[in-house]
């Protein structure tokens, strides 16, 4: 075991975030505020409630998830892509640190930052609309699990990517479509039956629904299905990371 090594990487990553601390907090806050103005106020004035929840509050879980998803992927993928790109990965590869410890350090740091961002957005949201939290502990747990899962996913992308372009393309091609179509701003009950069925293949639906459950006590799908989907997503990411390190995929030649 090399806890000092894990801590060294964790601190290195947190220092990197620290250098851009304000921009990385201000950007999500402004984005969230814009969403509130456009969706919450403009549309919300026409569409007052969804399933008994005021529309402004209804979109809060989806907004947090959207920001955390983009932040996590951005930070975690960049965190491992940079040393690969700059060549400094040699030191990590030659250090007495296990693959599991390396992932823990990188993903732990990125997830810490995502959790901070998530909390800041939740606080911002409270300024616009009082959002009740039905199950605060479950909410916190879900937030942490989502942060870790998204960051693992981001880490995979960082290992896989061979150019800055590839690093950018996944968030644009995958995250936004899946999140927007995953019911971040509406309930899938509002869709025609055919599209509702199609949507059920979107994993993000389960995440948003589960997260929403922790706020309002109900979601589009059962909380059990949401937890199952999250566990599956996490498990798949873990398996791929494990395989990457075992084979040295795009890290070692």
């Amino acid at each position: 075991m090399n806890p000092r090594g894990v801590w060294a990487i964790y601190r290195f990553e947190m220092a990197r975030f620290g250098r851009t601390f304000w921009t990385s907090l201000v950007v999500p806050v402004i984005t969230t505020s814009l969403y509130f103005i456009v969706f919450g106020s403009a549309i919300g004035s026409r569409m007052t409630e969804v399933g008994g929840v005021p529309y402004g509050a209804f979109i809060v879980p989806g907004l947090i998830l959207l920001s955390m998803f983009t932040e996590s992927i951005g930070n975690a993928s960049f965190g491992i892509y940079m040393p690969k790109w700059a060549g400094t990965i040699y030191e990590i590869l030659s250090a007495p640190i296990s693959p599991l410890e390396t992932v823990t350090a990188y993903v732990g740091a990125a997830a810490s930052k995502s959790i901070i961002v998530g909390c800041v957005i939740l606080a911002t949201a409270q300024i616009f609309t009082a959002t009740p939290i039905a199950h605060p502990l479950a909410m916190a747990g879900f937030l942490v699990l989502m942060a870790v899962t998204f960051c693992l996913f981001g880490f995979l992308i960082g290992v896989w990517a061979q150019s800055f372009e590839q690093l950018q393309v996944i968030p644009l091609l995958v995250v936004y479509p899946l999140t927007f179509l995953g019911g971040a701003f509406y309930s899938i009950d509002m869709l025609p039956p055919f599209w509702r069925t199609v949507t059920l293949f979107n994993p993000v639906v389960y995440l948003i629904s589960g997260f929403r459950w922790t706020f309002f006590g109900e979601g589009d799908v059962s909380i059990g299905a949401s937890l199952g989907a999250l566990a599956l997503f996490l498990g798949i990411c873990l398996a791929i990371v494990f395989w990457m390190f075992r084979t040295g995929y795009r890290l070692k030649s």
């Binding site: 290195f12 030191e91 030659s94 640190i97 070692k252």
Partner: protein, 322 residues
């Protein structure tokens, strides 16, 4: 923990091989033992496989076959204990541009599992004349200073085996001198050093033993002095006024050969020998009335040695049919 057995080599490599995904065979089953406290130079032209060998030991390249042990610890099975004892200064300058010198060196020390030790790090940075720059961002430093930072990082966890991959490539005179001072200082403290170079002078100056590597094969491992003897040969070529049909008997005591249809007399000699035999040869020729129009001498270069060795090696492998 390893047994403190004084006979355990610092590095023991058996059958270490590497074929890259591209199909390039960079290492053919290399065997090598480096004793504790030794300075060992891996000498070879570009593309010989020096970096691949080091990276395969350090964990940056996954070997296709074979094993390596560092102070008796297998570099794959017991990678933690093996790697704690290894310091690596890679060939390329890879640094974190936005980090400060002090932060990056402290990072390296803790990454390798050592507790913080500000006094040790300060001494290390002072020795490498980096202390005044400790708060500078690495991107503000010159190439030479960056290389010093890489050395400081490699030494930050007090390794017992240090790999220096082409430490003097593109390095100024000051740093070169400091580097050799440092290497000598480390050796006095018992650190084993494996360095790579393609300059024979460098190997001669620093190393106890030299391994010559070419095309992924370690074709020769010798004491530096022995190798220098082989390298120190010169060839004297005399362009004769009149061609000779065969060597005159009066010149039998020299190791001579005729070339260019008897127009040239070629003499190979050892520059480090007590008597090279050149003056006496010229006297004997004048006694025999063999005149010459011109002469030149040529030092056998590293290139010649490589060509010779690789050729011999190919002949040998062809003969043994392996």
């Amino acid at each position: 923990m390893t047994q403190p057995d004084p006979d355990t080599p610092a590095l023991a490599i058996t059958g270490l091989a590497k074929t890259y995904a591209s199909g390039v065979v960079a290492l053919h089953a290399v065997d090598l033992v480096v004793a504790k406290g030794e300075i060992f130079a891996l000498l070879g032209p570009n593309g010989a496989g020096k970096t691949t060998l080091i990276n395969a030991v350090c964990g940056i390249v996954t070997p296709s076959g074979g094993h390596a042990a560092v102070f008796g610890e297998d570099t794959q099975r017991d990678y933690r204990s093996a790697r704690r004892r290894i310091g690596l200064v890679p060939q390329e300058l890879h640094t974190d541009a936005f980090e400060t010198v002090l932060a990056t060196v402290e990072f390296s020390r803790t990454l390798f599992g050592k507790p913080r030790d500000p006094a040790f790090v300060e001494k290390l940075l002072r020795d490498l004349t980096l202390w005044d720059k400790r708060d500078a961002k690495i991107m503000e430093l010159s190439g030479g200073m960056k290389r010093r930072v890489m050395i400081a990082k490699a030494l930050s966890h007090e390794p017992d085996l240090l790999f220096l991959d082409e430490p003097t490539a593109g390095v100024d005179v000051d740093l070169r001198r400091d580097m050799w001072d440092m290497v000598r200082g480390l050796r006095e403290r018992g650190v084993t050093i494996v360095l790579t170079t393609h300059y024979i002078e460098e190997a001669e100056e620093m190393a106890d033993r030299v391994g010559v590597i070419a095309k992924g094969r370690l074709i020769l491992v010798e004491e530096t002095a022995t190798l220098m003897k082989k390298m120190g040969r010169k060839t004297l070529t005399l362009n004769l006024s009149e061609p000779l049909a065969r060597l005159p008997e009066g010149l039998g005591q020299w190791d001579l050969a005729l070339a260019a249809d008897g127009h040239e007399l070629v003499y190979e000699f050892d520059t480090q020998a007590e008597a090279t035999g050149v003056p006496s040869l010229l006297r004997a020729m004048s006694d025999l009335d063999i005149g010459f129009k011109d002469l030149n001498t040529r030092q056998s270069s590293l290139e010649d040695i490589f060509v010779g060795l690789v050729h011999d090696n190919n002949v040998q492998t062809a003969e043994t049919g392996s």
